[in-house]
Protein backbone atom coordinates (compact mmCIF):
# COMPACT_ATOMS: atom_id res chain seq x y z
CA UNK A 1 0.00 0.00 0.00
CA UNK A 2 1.13 3.50 -0.72
CA UNK A 3 -0.76 6.73 -0.32
CA UNK A 4 0.73 10.00 -1.43
CA UNK A 5 -0.72 13.48 -1.28
CA UNK A 6 1.02 16.00 -3.45
CA UNK A 7 0.53 19.74 -3.07
CA UNK A 8 -3.18 19.57 -2.42
CA UNK A 9 -4.91 22.93 -2.48
CA UNK A 10 -8.62 23.56 -2.20
CA UNK A 11 -10.32 26.89 -2.79
CA UNK A 12 -13.99 27.77 -2.55
CA UNK A 13 -15.64 30.88 -3.83
CA UNK A 14 -18.39 32.00 -1.54
CA UNK A 15 -20.36 35.18 -2.34
CA UNK A 16 -17.60 36.34 -4.62
CA UNK A 17 -14.93 35.93 -1.95
CA UNK A 18 -12.26 33.36 -2.59
CA UNK A 19 -11.52 31.16 0.38
CA UNK A 20 -8.48 28.93 0.65
CA UNK A 21 -9.45 25.94 2.74
CA UNK A 22 -6.38 23.82 2.18
CA UNK A 23 -3.02 24.95 0.92
CA UNK A 24 -0.16 22.91 -0.35
CA UNK A 25 -0.69 19.72 1.61
CA UNK A 26 1.91 17.10 0.81
CA UNK A 27 2.13 13.87 2.75
CA UNK A 28 3.45 10.34 2.44
CA UNK A 29 1.36 7.88 4.37
CA UNK A 30 3.29 4.78 5.30
CA UNK A 31 2.05 1.24 4.89
CA UNK A 32 0.08 -0.06 7.86
CA UNK A 33 0.39 3.27 9.55
CA UNK A 34 -2.16 4.79 11.90
CA UNK A 35 -2.15 8.46 11.01
CA UNK A 36 -4.27 11.07 12.76
CA UNK A 37 -5.13 14.37 11.16
CA UNK A 38 -5.76 16.85 13.92
CA UNK A 39 -6.89 20.41 13.83
CA UNK A 40 -9.35 22.97 15.12
CA UNK A 41 -12.81 23.02 13.60
CA UNK A 42 -12.83 24.78 10.27
CA UNK A 43 -9.26 23.86 9.39
CA UNK A 44 -10.38 21.79 6.44
CA UNK A 45 -9.48 18.37 7.85
CA UNK A 46 -12.76 16.82 6.77
CA UNK A 47 -12.39 18.41 3.33
CA UNK A 48 -8.93 16.89 3.08
CA UNK A 49 -10.25 13.45 3.92
CA UNK A 50 -13.09 13.84 1.42
CA UNK A 51 -10.60 14.81 -1.27
CA UNK A 52 -8.54 11.72 -0.51
CA UNK A 53 -11.71 9.60 -0.67
CA UNK A 54 -12.54 11.05 -4.07
CA UNK A 55 -15.77 12.60 -2.81
CA UNK A 56 -14.49 16.09 -3.52
CA UNK A 57 -12.12 17.43 -6.13
CA UNK A 58 -9.03 19.40 -5.16
CA UNK A 59 -8.42 22.72 -6.87
CA UNK A 60 -4.89 21.52 -7.54
CA UNK A 61 -2.64 18.68 -6.45
CA UNK A 62 -2.99 14.92 -6.65
CA UNK A 63 -3.81 11.95 -4.47
CA UNK A 64 -2.20 8.67 -5.43
CA UNK A 65 -3.06 5.32 -3.96
CA UNK A 66 -0.87 2.40 -5.00
CA UNK A 67 0.62 4.67 -7.69
CA UNK A 68 -2.82 5.29 -9.22
CA UNK A 69 -4.27 8.78 -9.20
CA UNK A 70 -7.58 9.00 -7.35
CA UNK A 71 -10.25 10.53 -9.57
CA UNK A 72 -13.37 9.42 -7.76
CA UNK A 73 -14.57 7.14 -4.98
CA UNK A 74 -12.90 3.74 -5.05
CA UNK A 75 -13.20 0.73 -2.76
CA UNK A 76 -9.42 0.98 -2.31
CA UNK A 77 -10.23 3.84 0.03
CA UNK A 78 -13.11 3.07 2.36
CA UNK A 79 -14.67 5.95 4.22
CA UNK A 80 -16.26 5.82 7.64
CA UNK A 81 -18.49 8.81 8.33
CA UNK A 82 -19.24 10.56 11.58
CA UNK A 83 -22.74 9.11 11.86
CA UNK A 84 -25.94 8.11 10.10
CA UNK A 85 -24.23 6.39 7.22
CA UNK A 86 -25.83 2.97 7.77
CA UNK A 87 -28.77 2.08 5.57
CA UNK A 88 -31.72 1.98 7.99
CA UNK A 89 -33.79 -0.34 5.76
CA UNK A 90 -31.08 -3.00 5.93
CA UNK A 91 -30.23 -5.19 8.87
CA UNK A 92 -26.74 -5.17 10.32
CA UNK A 93 -25.56 -8.10 8.22
CA UNK A 94 -27.22 -6.65 5.10
CA UNK A 95 -25.39 -3.40 5.70
CA UNK A 96 -22.09 -5.24 5.81
CA UNK A 97 -23.08 -7.15 2.69
CA UNK A 98 -23.63 -3.93 0.73
CA UNK A 99 -20.11 -3.47 -0.60
CA UNK A 100 -19.73 -7.20 -1.23
CA UNK A 101 -22.93 -7.21 -3.30
CA UNK A 102 -21.55 -4.34 -5.36
CA UNK A 103 -18.45 -6.38 -6.14
CA UNK A 104 -20.59 -9.22 -7.40
CA UNK A 105 -19.03 -12.04 -5.41
CA UNK A 106 -20.87 -15.37 -5.25
CA UNK A 107 -23.58 -15.17 -2.60
CA UNK A 108 -22.19 -17.81 -0.29
CA UNK A 109 -18.81 -16.10 -0.26
CA UNK A 110 -20.44 -12.73 0.40
CA UNK A 111 -22.15 -14.17 3.45
CA UNK A 112 -18.95 -15.79 4.75
CA UNK A 113 -17.07 -12.51 4.44
CA UNK A 114 -19.85 -10.47 6.04
CA UNK A 115 -20.04 -12.86 8.98
CA UNK A 116 -16.31 -12.76 9.42
CA UNK A 117 -16.27 -8.98 9.73
CA UNK A 118 -19.38 -8.92 11.86
CA UNK A 119 -17.51 -11.23 14.19
CA UNK A 120 -14.45 -8.99 14.06
CA UNK A 121 -16.44 -6.12 15.56
CA UNK A 122 -18.12 -8.44 18.05
CA UNK A 123 -21.71 -8.03 16.88
CA UNK A 124 -22.48 -11.56 15.68
CA UNK A 125 -25.65 -11.79 17.73
CA UNK A 126 -26.98 -8.55 16.23
CA UNK A 127 -26.82 -9.75 12.61
CA UNK A 128 -30.58 -9.48 12.15
CA UNK A 129 -31.05 -6.21 14.03
CA UNK A 130 -31.79 -2.90 12.35
CA UNK A 131 -29.52 0.11 12.87
CA UNK A 132 -32.20 1.96 14.85
CA UNK A 133 -32.18 -0.88 17.37
CA UNK A 134 -28.47 -0.33 18.10
CA UNK A 135 -26.64 2.19 20.25
CA UNK A 136 -24.43 4.81 18.63
CA UNK A 137 -21.29 2.83 19.43
CA UNK A 138 -22.66 -0.35 17.93
CA UNK A 139 -23.67 1.49 14.79
CA UNK A 140 -20.16 2.77 14.31
CA UNK A 141 -18.84 -0.77 14.79
CA UNK A 142 -21.11 -1.87 11.97
CA UNK A 143 -19.84 1.02 9.83
CA UNK A 144 -16.27 -0.15 10.48
CA UNK A 145 -17.12 -3.74 9.58
CA UNK A 146 -18.92 -2.63 6.43
CA UNK A 147 -15.92 -0.59 5.32
CA UNK A 148 -13.33 -3.28 6.04
CA UNK A 149 -15.45 -5.94 4.33
CA UNK A 150 -14.67 -4.51 0.88
CA UNK A 151 -10.99 -5.06 1.68
CA UNK A 152 -9.70 -1.53 1.14
CA UNK A 153 -6.03 -0.58 1.30
CA UNK A 154 -6.80 2.42 3.45
CA UNK A 155 -9.51 3.21 5.96
CA UNK A 156 -10.51 6.87 5.99
CA UNK A 157 -12.27 7.81 9.20
CA UNK A 158 -13.95 11.19 9.61
CA UNK A 159 -14.39 11.81 13.34
CA UNK A 160 -16.10 8.44 13.59
CA UNK A 161 -16.46 8.57 17.36
CA UNK A 162 -17.23 12.28 17.58
CA UNK A 163 -20.90 11.78 18.39
CA UNK A 164 -20.35 9.19 21.12
CA UNK A 165 -20.12 9.64 24.86
CA UNK A 166 -16.66 9.61 26.43
CA UNK A 167 -16.75 6.05 27.78
CA UNK A 168 -18.04 4.51 24.59
CA UNK A 169 -15.47 6.49 22.65
CA UNK A 170 -12.60 5.14 24.77
CA UNK A 171 -13.87 1.61 24.29
CA UNK A 172 -14.18 1.99 20.54
CA UNK A 173 -10.71 3.48 20.31
CA UNK A 174 -9.31 0.36 21.95
CA UNK A 175 -11.32 -1.91 19.71
CA UNK A 176 -10.24 0.01 16.64
CA UNK A 177 -6.60 -0.48 17.57
CA UNK A 178 -7.20 -4.21 17.95
CA UNK A 179 -8.90 -4.35 14.57
CA UNK A 180 -6.08 -2.33 13.06
CA UNK A 181 -3.51 -4.72 14.48
CA UNK A 182 -5.45 -7.76 13.24
CA UNK A 183 -6.16 -6.49 9.74
CA UNK A 184 -3.00 -4.42 9.22
CA UNK A 185 -4.91 -1.70 7.35
CA UNK A 186 -3.54 1.77 6.91
CA UNK A 187 -5.78 4.20 8.76
CA UNK A 188 -6.24 7.91 8.26
CA UNK A 189 -8.21 9.21 11.19
CA UNK A 190 -9.54 12.76 11.37
CA UNK A 191 -10.27 14.14 14.81
CA UNK A 192 -10.34 17.38 16.75
CA UNK A 193 -9.60 15.58 20.02
CA UNK A 194 -5.96 15.76 21.06
CA UNK A 195 -6.45 12.90 23.54
CA UNK A 196 -7.87 10.67 20.85
CA UNK A 197 -5.00 11.41 18.47
CA UNK A 198 -2.35 10.80 21.12
CA UNK A 199 -3.96 7.51 22.14
CA UNK A 200 -4.33 6.18 18.62
CA UNK A 201 -1.73 7.54 16.27
CA UNK A 202 1.72 6.58 15.05
CA UNK A 203 1.97 10.07 13.68
CA UNK A 204 -0.17 13.14 14.23
CA UNK A 205 -0.51 15.65 11.43
CA UNK A 206 -1.42 18.96 13.01
CA UNK A 207 -3.23 21.32 10.65
CA UNK A 208 -3.43 25.06 11.02
CA UNK A 209 -6.42 27.14 10.09
CA UNK A 210 -7.04 29.81 7.42
CA UNK A 211 -5.66 28.41 5.26
CA UNK A 212 -5.34 24.80 6.32
CA UNK A 213 -1.68 23.91 6.12
CA UNK A 214 0.38 21.19 7.69
CA UNK A 215 1.75 22.87 10.77
CA UNK A 216 3.75 20.01 12.12
CA UNK A 217 3.95 16.24 12.04
CA UNK A 218 4.52 14.65 15.43
CA UNK A 219 5.67 11.07 15.99
CA UNK A 220 4.09 9.17 18.82
CA UNK A 221 6.36 6.32 19.78
CA UNK A 222 4.81 5.20 23.06
CA UNK A 223 4.12 1.46 23.18
CA UNK A 224 0.60 0.15 22.78
CA UNK A 225 -1.63 -0.39 24.58
CA UNK A 226 -1.00 3.12 25.76
CA UNK A 227 -1.78 4.46 29.14
CA UNK A 228 -3.71 7.64 28.50
CA UNK A 229 -2.05 9.29 31.49
CA UNK A 230 1.56 8.26 30.82
CA UNK A 231 4.36 10.82 30.79
CA UNK A 232 5.14 10.60 27.11
CA UNK A 233 1.47 11.01 26.26
CA UNK A 234 1.24 14.07 28.49
CA UNK A 235 4.29 15.62 26.85
CA UNK A 236 2.94 15.11 23.36
CA UNK A 237 -0.45 16.38 24.42
CA UNK A 238 1.18 19.54 25.76
CA UNK A 239 3.15 20.01 22.55
CA UNK A 240 0.11 19.57 20.34
CA UNK A 241 -2.06 21.82 22.47
CA UNK A 242 0.51 24.61 22.39
CA UNK A 243 0.69 24.28 18.61
CA UNK A 244 -3.05 24.66 18.35
CA UNK A 245 -3.23 27.49 20.85
CA UNK A 246 -0.66 29.54 18.97
CA UNK A 247 -3.30 29.72 16.28
CA UNK A 248 -5.56 31.99 18.25
Amino acid sequence: MSLTLKEITKRFTRRGVELTVLEDISLEVEDEEFLCILGPSGCGKTTLLRIIAGLEVATSGTVRVNEKEVSGPTPELAMIFQEYSLFPWRTVIENILFGLECRGLPQAEQMDQAKKYLDLVGLTEFAGSYPYELSGGMRQRVAVARAIAVNPSVLLMDEPFGALDAQTRNMLQKELLEIWQKTRKTILFVTHSVDEAVFLADRIVVLSRNPGRIRQIIDVTADRPRDRTCNECALIRREVLSLIEEEH
Binding site: A53, G54, L55, G72, P73, T74, P75, L77, A78, M79, F81, Y84, S85, F87, P88, W89, R90, F98, G99, E101, C102, R103, Y130, P131, Y132, E133, R146, A147, V150
Partner: protein, 270 residues
Protein backbone atom coordinates in the same frame (compact mmCIF):
# COMPACT_ATOMS: atom_id res chain seq x y z
CA UNK B 1 -39.66 7.78 46.85
CA UNK B 2 -40.17 11.39 45.89
CA UNK B 3 -41.08 11.95 42.30
CA UNK B 4 -39.12 14.88 40.86
CA UNK B 5 -41.52 17.70 39.97
CA UNK B 6 -40.79 17.71 36.26
CA UNK B 7 -41.43 14.00 35.99
CA UNK B 8 -44.60 14.40 38.01
CA UNK B 9 -45.95 17.15 35.78
CA UNK B 10 -45.29 15.13 32.68
CA UNK B 11 -47.26 12.31 34.21
CA UNK B 12 -50.17 14.68 34.81
CA UNK B 13 -50.03 16.22 31.38
CA UNK B 14 -50.29 12.90 29.55
CA UNK B 15 -53.76 12.64 27.98
CA UNK B 16 -56.04 9.97 29.33
CA UNK B 17 -56.06 6.75 27.39
CA UNK B 18 -59.37 6.68 25.52
CA UNK B 19 -61.51 3.61 25.73
CA UNK B 20 -61.83 1.80 22.39
CA UNK B 21 -65.57 1.86 22.94
CA UNK B 22 -65.41 5.61 22.38
CA UNK B 23 -64.67 4.97 18.73
CA UNK B 24 -68.12 3.44 18.36
CA UNK B 25 -70.02 6.22 20.12
CA UNK B 26 -70.45 8.60 17.21
CA UNK B 27 -71.24 5.98 14.53
CA UNK B 28 -73.93 4.50 16.77
CA UNK B 29 -75.37 7.95 17.45
CA UNK B 30 -75.46 8.73 13.73
CA UNK B 31 -77.28 5.46 13.03
CA UNK B 32 -79.83 6.25 15.72
CA UNK B 33 -80.40 9.75 14.33
CA UNK B 34 -80.73 8.28 10.84
CA UNK B 35 -83.33 5.76 11.94
CA UNK B 36 -85.35 8.32 13.91
CA UNK B 37 -85.24 10.80 11.02
CA UNK B 38 -86.31 8.07 8.58
CA UNK B 39 -89.28 7.13 10.76
CA UNK B 40 -90.32 10.77 11.20
CA UNK B 41 -89.92 11.61 7.50
CA UNK B 42 -91.64 8.43 6.45
CA UNK B 43 -90.52 8.91 2.83
CA UNK B 44 -88.26 6.25 1.38
CA UNK B 45 -87.51 8.43 -1.66
CA UNK B 46 -85.68 10.85 0.60
CA UNK B 47 -84.34 8.73 3.46
CA UNK B 48 -84.98 4.99 3.65
CA UNK B 49 -84.88 3.07 6.95
CA UNK B 50 -81.64 1.36 7.92
CA UNK B 51 -83.23 -2.03 7.46
CA UNK B 52 -83.93 -1.57 3.76
CA UNK B 53 -80.32 -0.48 3.09
CA UNK B 54 -79.08 -3.42 5.13
CA UNK B 55 -81.21 -5.88 3.20
CA UNK B 56 -79.43 -4.76 0.02
CA UNK B 57 -75.98 -4.87 1.61
CA UNK B 58 -76.65 -8.35 2.95
CA UNK B 59 -77.31 -9.66 -0.57
CA UNK B 60 -74.30 -8.24 -2.34
CA UNK B 61 -74.43 -10.81 -5.14
CA UNK B 62 -78.09 -10.17 -6.01
CA UNK B 63 -78.91 -8.39 -9.27
CA UNK B 64 -80.20 -4.84 -8.80
CA UNK B 65 -82.58 -3.32 -11.37
CA UNK B 66 -81.04 -5.48 -14.09
CA UNK B 67 -77.74 -3.62 -13.74
CA UNK B 68 -75.70 -6.28 -11.99
CA UNK B 69 -74.97 -6.80 -8.31
CA UNK B 70 -73.02 -4.73 -5.79
CA UNK B 71 -70.12 -7.18 -6.04
CA UNK B 72 -69.96 -7.37 -9.83
CA UNK B 73 -70.17 -3.60 -10.20
CA UNK B 74 -67.69 -3.07 -7.38
CA UNK B 75 -65.21 -5.38 -9.12
CA UNK B 76 -65.67 -3.57 -12.44
CA UNK B 77 -64.91 -0.25 -10.73
CA UNK B 78 -61.92 -1.75 -8.97
CA UNK B 79 -60.56 -3.09 -12.23
CA UNK B 80 -60.84 0.33 -13.87
CA UNK B 81 -59.10 1.95 -10.94
CA UNK B 82 -56.28 -0.56 -11.05
CA UNK B 83 -55.66 0.10 -14.74
CA UNK B 84 -55.62 3.88 -14.23
CA UNK B 85 -53.56 3.63 -11.06
CA UNK B 86 -51.05 1.34 -12.76
CA UNK B 87 -50.59 3.75 -15.67
CA UNK B 88 -50.21 6.71 -13.29
CA UNK B 89 -47.60 4.80 -11.27
CA UNK B 90 -45.71 3.73 -14.36
CA UNK B 91 -45.27 7.33 -15.47
CA UNK B 92 -45.08 9.15 -12.14
CA UNK B 93 -42.40 7.07 -10.37
CA UNK B 94 -39.71 7.16 -13.09
CA UNK B 95 -40.43 10.84 -13.76
CA UNK B 96 -40.34 11.58 -10.04
CA UNK B 97 -37.00 9.82 -9.66
CA UNK B 98 -35.62 11.79 -12.58
CA UNK B 99 -36.91 15.06 -11.18
CA UNK B 100 -35.73 14.31 -7.68
CA UNK B 101 -32.24 13.27 -8.75
CA UNK B 102 -31.53 15.75 -11.52
CA UNK B 103 -32.07 19.50 -11.30
CA UNK B 104 -32.20 19.89 -15.05
CA UNK B 105 -35.03 17.38 -15.38
CA UNK B 106 -36.80 19.11 -12.52
CA UNK B 107 -36.47 22.55 -14.08
CA UNK B 108 -37.70 21.18 -17.39
CA UNK B 109 -40.86 19.53 -16.08
CA UNK B 110 -41.76 21.58 -13.03
CA UNK B 111 -43.55 24.52 -14.72
CA UNK B 112 -45.88 22.23 -16.66
CA UNK B 113 -46.61 20.17 -13.57
CA UNK B 114 -47.33 23.22 -11.46
CA UNK B 115 -49.70 24.44 -14.16
CA UNK B 116 -51.71 21.23 -14.47
CA UNK B 117 -51.70 20.19 -10.84
CA UNK B 118 -54.46 22.54 -9.59
CA UNK B 119 -56.91 21.37 -12.27
CA UNK B 120 -59.24 18.81 -10.65
CA UNK B 121 -59.36 15.52 -12.56
CA UNK B 122 -63.09 15.92 -13.08
CA UNK B 123 -62.53 19.16 -14.98
CA UNK B 124 -60.92 16.94 -17.62
CA UNK B 125 -64.14 14.97 -18.18
CA UNK B 126 -65.45 16.96 -21.18
CA UNK B 127 -62.04 16.97 -22.89
CA UNK B 128 -61.59 13.31 -22.14
CA UNK B 129 -64.99 12.53 -23.68
CA UNK B 130 -64.04 14.55 -26.74
CA UNK B 131 -60.73 12.75 -27.14
CA UNK B 132 -61.50 9.19 -26.12
CA UNK B 133 -65.31 9.03 -26.50
CA UNK B 134 -67.39 7.26 -23.89
CA UNK B 135 -65.86 4.08 -22.54
CA UNK B 136 -63.00 2.56 -20.64
CA UNK B 137 -60.23 4.73 -22.05
CA UNK B 138 -61.80 8.03 -21.06
CA UNK B 139 -62.44 6.71 -17.56
CA UNK B 140 -58.91 5.39 -17.24
CA UNK B 141 -57.60 8.74 -18.43
CA UNK B 142 -59.43 10.58 -15.65
CA UNK B 143 -58.39 8.03 -13.04
CA UNK B 144 -54.73 8.10 -14.07
CA UNK B 145 -54.71 11.90 -14.00
CA UNK B 146 -56.11 11.83 -10.49
CA UNK B 147 -53.48 9.44 -9.18
CA UNK B 148 -50.56 10.94 -11.09
CA UNK B 149 -49.81 14.07 -9.07
CA UNK B 150 -49.71 12.68 -5.52
CA UNK B 151 -47.50 9.81 -6.70
CA UNK B 152 -45.19 12.14 -8.60
CA UNK B 153 -44.85 14.73 -5.85
CA UNK B 154 -44.20 12.14 -3.17
CA UNK B 155 -41.64 10.38 -5.34
CA UNK B 156 -39.74 13.65 -5.87
CA UNK B 157 -39.94 14.35 -2.17
CA UNK B 158 -38.81 10.85 -1.24
CA UNK B 159 -35.85 10.88 -3.61
CA UNK B 160 -34.77 14.27 -2.28
CA UNK B 161 -35.00 13.06 1.29
CA UNK B 162 -32.42 10.33 0.63
CA UNK B 163 -29.48 11.26 2.85
CA UNK B 164 -26.35 12.42 1.07
CA UNK B 165 -24.24 10.34 3.46
CA UNK B 166 -26.00 7.14 2.29
CA UNK B 167 -25.14 7.91 -1.32
CA UNK B 168 -21.56 8.82 -0.47
CA UNK B 169 -21.15 5.72 1.67
CA UNK B 170 -22.46 3.64 -1.22
CA UNK B 171 -20.03 5.17 -3.72
CA UNK B 172 -17.05 4.60 -1.44
CA UNK B 173 -18.18 0.98 -1.06
CA UNK B 174 -18.01 0.60 -4.82
CA UNK B 175 -21.63 1.05 -5.94
CA UNK B 176 -22.18 2.02 -9.58
CA UNK B 177 -24.71 4.66 -10.67
CA UNK B 178 -27.24 1.90 -11.21
CA UNK B 179 -26.34 0.33 -7.87
CA UNK B 180 -26.93 3.64 -6.11
CA UNK B 181 -30.31 4.02 -7.79
CA UNK B 182 -31.48 0.48 -7.07
CA UNK B 183 -29.86 -0.12 -3.69
CA UNK B 184 -29.91 3.32 -2.09
CA UNK B 185 -32.21 5.86 -3.75
CA UNK B 186 -35.19 3.54 -4.31
CA UNK B 187 -35.19 1.83 -0.92
CA UNK B 188 -34.42 5.14 0.79
CA UNK B 189 -37.31 6.86 -0.95
CA UNK B 190 -39.66 3.86 -0.77
CA UNK B 191 -41.60 4.91 2.36
CA UNK B 192 -42.45 8.30 0.89
CA UNK B 193 -43.24 6.81 -2.51
CA UNK B 194 -45.52 4.34 -0.77
CA UNK B 195 -47.38 7.22 0.91
CA UNK B 196 -47.81 8.74 -2.54
CA UNK B 197 -49.22 5.46 -3.85
CA UNK B 198 -51.66 5.29 -0.96
CA UNK B 199 -52.90 8.85 -1.42
CA UNK B 200 -52.90 8.39 -5.20
CA UNK B 201 -55.01 5.27 -4.97
CA UNK B 202 -57.52 7.08 -2.78
CA UNK B 203 -57.90 9.80 -5.40
CA UNK B 204 -58.14 7.24 -8.23
CA UNK B 205 -60.93 5.56 -6.33
CA UNK B 206 -62.82 8.84 -5.98
CA UNK B 207 -62.32 9.52 -9.67
CA UNK B 208 -63.69 6.17 -10.84
CA UNK B 209 -67.00 6.66 -9.11
CA UNK B 210 -67.37 10.14 -10.58
CA UNK B 211 -66.24 8.95 -14.02
CA UNK B 212 -68.82 6.18 -13.96
CA UNK B 213 -71.55 8.76 -13.44
CA UNK B 214 -70.73 10.21 -16.86
CA UNK B 215 -73.54 9.75 -19.37
CA UNK B 216 -73.30 6.63 -21.48
CA UNK B 217 -71.62 4.41 -18.89
CA UNK B 218 -73.35 1.09 -18.30
CA UNK B 219 -71.50 -0.57 -15.44
CA UNK B 220 -69.60 0.12 -12.25
CA UNK B 221 -70.60 1.20 -8.80
CA UNK B 222 -70.96 4.86 -9.83
CA UNK B 223 -73.25 3.80 -12.65
CA UNK B 224 -75.30 1.68 -10.24
CA UNK B 225 -75.80 4.68 -7.97
CA UNK B 226 -76.83 6.93 -10.84
CA UNK B 227 -79.28 4.34 -12.20
CA UNK B 228 -80.78 3.90 -8.75
CA UNK B 229 -81.24 7.62 -8.56
CA UNK B 230 -83.15 7.58 -11.82
CA UNK B 231 -85.35 4.79 -10.47
CA UNK B 232 -85.85 6.50 -7.13
CA UNK B 233 -84.12 3.66 -5.24
CA UNK B 234 -82.50 5.69 -2.48
CA UNK B 235 -81.67 2.60 -0.41
CA UNK B 236 -79.49 1.33 -3.30
CA UNK B 237 -77.78 4.71 -3.58
CA UNK B 238 -76.85 4.55 0.09
CA UNK B 239 -75.84 0.90 -0.11
CA UNK B 240 -73.63 1.75 -3.10
CA UNK B 241 -72.02 4.61 -1.20
CA UNK B 242 -71.31 2.30 1.70
CA UNK B 243 -69.68 -0.22 -0.64
CA UNK B 244 -67.49 2.57 -2.05
CA UNK B 245 -66.46 3.48 1.48
CA UNK B 246 -65.71 -0.11 2.45
CA UNK B 247 -63.58 -0.86 -0.62
CA UNK B 248 -61.70 2.43 -0.23
CA UNK B 249 -61.07 1.78 3.44
CA UNK B 250 -60.02 -1.81 2.73
CA UNK B 251 -57.40 -0.83 0.17
CA UNK B 252 -56.15 1.99 2.38
CA UNK B 253 -55.74 -0.43 5.29
CA UNK B 254 -53.80 -2.76 3.03
CA UNK B 255 -51.41 0.06 2.14
CA UNK B 256 -51.05 0.99 5.81
CA UNK B 257 -50.42 -2.62 6.77
CA UNK B 258 -47.54 -2.91 4.30
CA UNK B 259 -46.24 0.49 5.42
CA UNK B 260 -46.11 -0.68 9.01
CA UNK B 261 -44.45 -3.96 8.15
CA UNK B 262 -41.91 -2.75 5.64
CA UNK B 263 -41.28 0.93 6.15
CA UNK B 264 -41.36 1.42 9.90
CA UNK B 265 -37.62 2.18 9.79
CA UNK B 266 -38.38 5.70 8.65
CA UNK B 267 -40.13 6.57 11.89
CA UNK B 268 -37.66 4.70 14.06
CA UNK B 269 -34.48 5.95 12.40
CA UNK B 270 -33.74 9.35 13.84
Amino acid sequence: MVIPPAEHEREEARPQKASPLLRLALPVLLLVIWEIAAILLDNEFILPRIGSVLSILLHPAADILGSGSLISNGLISLERVLIGFFIATLIAIPLGIGMGRNDMVHTLFDPVIQMFRPIPPLAWVPLSLAWFKIGLSSMVFIIALGGFFPILLNTIDGVRSVRKTWIEAATTLGASEKGILMRVVLPGAAPTIWTGLRVGFGICWMCVVAAEMMPGTNSGIGYLIMTSYNWGQVQVIIAGMIVIGIIGLGVDSLFKFVEKRRFSWRELDR
